[in-house]
Structure formats: C-alpha cells, structure tokens
C-alpha cells in the first residue's frame, strides 16, 4: 500500500515539477497530462474507481486536447522564448520563495494535527450509490453544474470563434457552384 503511494507521488510530483520547469510548452503540457494521470492513479489507490476514470476521461481525454490545441494555436516567437529576462528570473525566485513558505506552513499544520483514526474498514462507493446520491441529495447541484458546462461551452465557442466578416472569403458548401471541368 504505502510503497505504491510513494511511487504514485513520485510520478505525480516529478512530472508536475518538470512540467513547470521545462521551456518547451508541448513537453510541459504532455508532462502535466502524466501528472493528471498520476492523480487518477492516486484515486485508484484510494479505492475511488469512478472518480479515477472520470479524471482520466476529463483530464487526459478532454482538457489535454484543449490545452494542446491552445498551445498550437498560440505559437509564439521562438526567440523570445529562449532568452530569459532578469525580471522573470526575479519573479521566479519570488515565486519559489512564496511556494516554499506555503509548503512549510501547510506541512507544519498537517504534521502537528492529530486526525481522528480512520474507519476500521475502507469505505466503498459503488457506481449505483454514487448515482443515487448525485441524483437525490445533490440533484440541484448537478443541474447547476450542467448549466455551468453548457454556458462554458457556449462562452468558449463565442470567445474563440473568428469574426464572421473574416471568413466571408470562404463560401459555404451550399453556395458552391457545380464543378465545371474544362
């Protein structure tokens, strides 16, 4: 149990740290996907199968695609990328200090807390139980999440779509004249 947890943590934290340090954006994104898969592995380790598969489906299947498309659609000038400005060095140093301080505070708080002992047997949640809880107790929240996702989908489409007058040059399919072969 515990060695497996260490392996998962190594995968998760190692790939996340590497992703944040690398200069190649695509490599960063792919490593982050590995990190998300590591989080899913942690869920599997903890016995939350359903959440683990949902994590893989949403993060590895969907969000990764959006991220990779966004990286490709926003190609930057490579020259800017290779030069590290002194200002950004200073910012990175500050960021690391802040993160280290936060980590220290959190770790101290966690280590000094005595948690209630865990329940004698590991909790199980079958898909049916999760479904019933989602539909009954949390039905309202489920509806709101559906609404949020719909609004997000529409909003993202409207934000990312090009303006209409930009692609007037491309006629729609119906307007194509029949092919004339000379």
């Amino acid at each position: 149990m515990i060695p497996a947890l260490f392996l998962i943590a190594l995968l998760m934290l190692g790939s996340a740290a590497a992703a944040m340090l690398l200069r190649n954006l695509i490599h960063s994104a792919l490593l982050l996907i590995v990190s998300w898969a590591g989080v899913a592995a942690f869920y599997l380790w903890a016995g939350a199968e359903f959440v683990a598969f949902a994590q893989i489906l949403v993060y590895v299947g969907a969000i990764s695609m959006v991220v990779l498309f966004a990286v490709l659609l926003t190609r930057q000038n490579q020259i800017i990328d290779t030069v590290i400005e002194p200002a950004s060095r200073a910012r990175a140093a500050t960021a690391f200090t802040v993160a280290a301080c936060v980590a220290a505070v959190f770790s101290a708080a966690i280590l000094s807390t005595k948690f209630h002992p865990a329940a004698p047997e590991a909790p199980t949640a079958s898909v049916k139980e999760i479904g019933l809880t989602l539909m009954n107790e949390h039905g309202g929240a489920l509806l709101i999440v559906g609404l949020i996702l719909t609004v997000a989908l529409l909003g993202a489409t409207i934000l990312a779509a090009t303006d209409r007058d930009e692609d007037q040059s491309q006629p729609s399919d119906a307007a194509l004249p029949p092919k004339e072969t000379p």
């Binding site: 695509i26 792919l30 996907i33 199968e49 359903f50 598969f53 949902a54 893989i56 489906l57 590895v60 299947g61 969907a62 990764s64 695609m65 990779l68 498309f69 490709l72 079958s126 898909v127 049916k128 479904g131 399919d173 119906a174 307007a175 194509l176 029949p178 004339e180 072969t181």
Partner: protein
C-alpha cells in the same frame, strides 16, 4: 424459457441427447473449459506467484487471441475487398519453401499466411526517424496507442464466465482508456516535425473529438435502462426470450436500434475506417499523421487501429447484440465465448463491407454529420430510453402504444433531420453522365 427448464426438457425428450442437455446448462464443461485450464496452470505454480500468473495468463490470452484475430482480420479485409472489387486478393503466399520435402508440395494455403509475411516485412524494414523529430515522443506515440487500445479489452465479457477484469464502472473505464489514443495521435503528428503530419493530426483529432460525443451519448440509453455501468450486468440484462424465440437484445427495441446505428457510425469514425478515413486517406494524403513513420512503428499504429475497431465492435456486441447470449434457446449448447466471437466477426465483416461500398466523406460533411445529425438524434434517444423506462409497467394493449411512441421518437426526427442535412447540399449535376 430459462436455461434449467430447457436442459431438463431436452434430457427428458431423449436420453441420447443427455450430452447436449449437460452442455446447455450454464456450468457445462465447455463453458468452463478455458477457466479450468487457467486454474490448472496456475495451480502448478507456488502460492506466492499465483495471483501474478493468473493475471499474466489473462493478458497473454488477450494478446494471443486478438493478435491472431488482427492478423486474420487484415487478410479477411484484403480478400473481401478484393471480391467486392472483382479481384482475387492475396492468394500467393503460403508456407516457406519446403525444399527438404521429397514430394512436390502445393503450399499456397489460399494466401492465408499473408499477414505473417507482412509482419516479417514490417519488422525487417528500416526504421527511419526524421533528424528534426522529437525522438522520445516519436518513439512513445506508437507504444501508447497500442497499449491503450489493448487496455480496452480488459472489461469486455467474452463469455458467460470469461471477463478479464470485473469492474463496477466498466463502461467509463472503456472510454477512459480509449481517450488516450487521441493523445498518441497528437504526439505522432507533433513529434514528426513535419507540418503536414501536424495538420493531419489536428484533422484526425477534430474528427475523433467530434465523434466521441455521439459514441458516448449512444451508450447512455443502455445505462439508463439497465441502471448499471458494468458490462457483465448489461449482458445479463439482455438474457431471455419473448415467446421462446425473440431475444431480449437491446437492438430489437426502437431506442436500442437507433442507438446501435449511431454507435456503428460513430465507431466507424472513431476507428478511422472508411467512409470516415480522412486522417489517412491513402489516395489523397500520404498517410496523414503517420507520414514520418515506417517499418514496425507504422505497423503498430495499423495494429492499434484494428485493435480499436475490434474493441469497439466488441463493445457494440456487448451493449446492443446481447453479448455472449445465444440468439435462440436451443442454440445454447454452443459455448458463450463462441457466440461472442461469432458476433464480433459479423461486426468486422460488416465494417469491411461498408468500406468496400461507401465513398469517403469530405471534412465539412463529416463534422456536419456529427454535430447536426448524430448528436441531436443521440440526445433524443436518451429521452426515448427514459420514456421506455417509465412505461415498463404498462399493460399489454398499452405496450403497443409504447412501441409506437418510441418508434415515432426515433423515426420522425430521423426523417426531418435527414432532410435538413441533405438539403444543405446543392443537387449534384453530372456533366457527362446521363
């Protein structure tokens, strides 16, 4: 008619058919033979490694069975396509020259050893990696695509007792494992450092993402009706016969039929099969995102495509065609895994037939079909399944109303949306044809 009554009837009918009666019971010898064999092999080993051996045997079986299945799918496809096009297809490759044999030996075997010759060719070809390529990702992409397409087989119930991993959330697992192939396609396209590969990968991704939606939506009605995500329970929910000969497969309900058709179309597109094979349209593009791959890596992608097709067909069989259930009660003496394989082969042959018949779509037609036709129909189909669940308790005359309403929910939107879809294309005018 239940299994036990059937077997008892058979045994009383004739004492000579007692063997058949024994075979008809769910725990017959043939039914359990693969499991017995595995347990026997596992028990030969010392106790500490038994669990490992248990899983290794399962994995090796999947690899061997579906590896061979892949090999013979390729030859079947080539031969069937050839017949459809009035050709002979590969019929020359046979056994290697057995010149040590004293007699003249006819060894062409109808070309059945062609896939092995192809495999040897693929392995011995030079493996070319472009100088500018991202070597690691270029290497990882085929590995990932094959690994994850094989992982999807883990939750398919191949027989009454044969299911590699019994998961509560099996359907979710299937789609989660399938999601990684998109990533592999991106990696293949990007790591090649070839703008055509990258563009083709983006096109392939656009297609895969568009069709993943109808694929998953077409499965939701099944989950709604059976109220489970476990593939084993879904197959069990389709057991039994009305009047003793009409199987309770979901494809024989209006919503199940519509779901099956949507599933078939989406599965064709998900596995890049003709008429949706735009990502690597071999007569138009070179090989799409696989342009910079050669030799064994290319063969791996090819293999993963067929594995994906087989897995999706297996899922379709499991969800809509009754899985390992026999179509008629008296056919139950045939072991369940043979029924599964038979249905799987039928699905594959159907896909080959479609490939030989239909023309390739254009990219705008492809996406329009997904978003304007399949997704709305699949959404309506979910409502249809909800209606079906609500009206389970209706009495017999009302059952006809139930079937009528359910069929109407499928047919009317299909006709209306089909007209709207085809109206968006200008009428074709052929200049030289009559």
């Amino acid at each position: 008619m239940s299994l036990s009554t059937l077997s008892s009837q058979l045994s009383t009918a004739a004492t000579a058919s007692s063997a058949a009666a024994a075979a008809a019971s769910p725990d017959s010898f043939l039914e359990r033979a693969p499991l017995e064999l595995r347990d026997w092999a596992v028990n030969l080993l010392p106790t500490p490694v038994q669990w490992l051996a248990h899983h290794l045997i399962t994995i090796v079986c999947i690899l061997a069975v579906f590896g061979l299945f892949f090999a013979f799918t390729t030859i079947a496809e080539r031969k069937l396509l050839a017949r459809l096009q009035n050709r002979l297809g590969p019929n020359r490759s046979g056994l290697p020259k057995l010149s040590i044999l004293p007699w003249h030996f006819k060894h062409t075997l109808f070309g059945l050893s062609q896939p092995f010759a192809d495999a040897i060719k693929a392995i011995t070809k030079e493996d070319i990696v472009p100088a500018a390529a991202d070597k690691l990702l270029h290497f990882l992409a085929p590995v990932i695509v094959v690994a994850f397409s094989l992982m999807t087989f883990a939750v398919l119930p191949f027989g009454r007792n044969i299911i590699p991993v019994e998961l509560d959330a099996a359907l979710l697992y299937f789609f989660a494992a399938g999601a990684a192939t998109e990533l592999a396609i991106f990696m293949a396209g990007w790591s090649s450092r070839n703008k055509y590969s990258l563009l083709a990968a983006m096109r392939a991704l656009a297609q895969l993402i568009s069709y993943e939606l109808p694929l998953i939506l077409s499965v939701v009605p099944i989950v709604l009706v059976t109220s489970t995500l476990s593939t084993k329970a879904i197959v069990l929910a389709q057991s039994g016969w009305t009047f003793g000969f009409l199987p309770h497969w979901f494809v024989f309900t209006p919503w199940g039929f519509a779901g099956f058709i949507i599933f078939l179309i989406a599965a064709l597109a998900e596995s890049n099969r003709s008429p949706f094979d735009l990502p690597e349209a071999e007569s138009e593009l070179v090989a799409g995102h696989l342009t910079e791959y050669s030799g064994f890596k290319y063969a791996l992608f090819f293999m993963a495509e067929y594995f994906g097709l087989t897995a999706l067909s297996g899922l379709g069989v499991t969800l809509f065609l009754g899985g390992w259930q026999a179509p008629l009660p008296f056919l139950e003496f045939i072991p369940s895994y043979l029924w599964f394989m038979g249905k799987l082969i039928c699905m594959i042959v159907f896909f080959i037939w479609v490939r030989g018949t239909l023309l390739r779509l254009r990219i705008d037609q492809l996406t329009r079909l997904a978003w304007q036709f399949l997704v709305p129909l699949a959404l309506l189909n979910i409502a249809n399944a909800a209606f079906w669940v609500l009206t389970t308790q209706w009495s017999l005359p009302l059952q006809f109303v139930r079937w009528g309403v359910s069929a109407a929910i499928v047919v009317i939107p299909f006709i209306m949306m089909g007209r709207a879809l085809s109206a968006s294309y200008a009428p074709r005018s052929y200049r030289y044809a009559p």
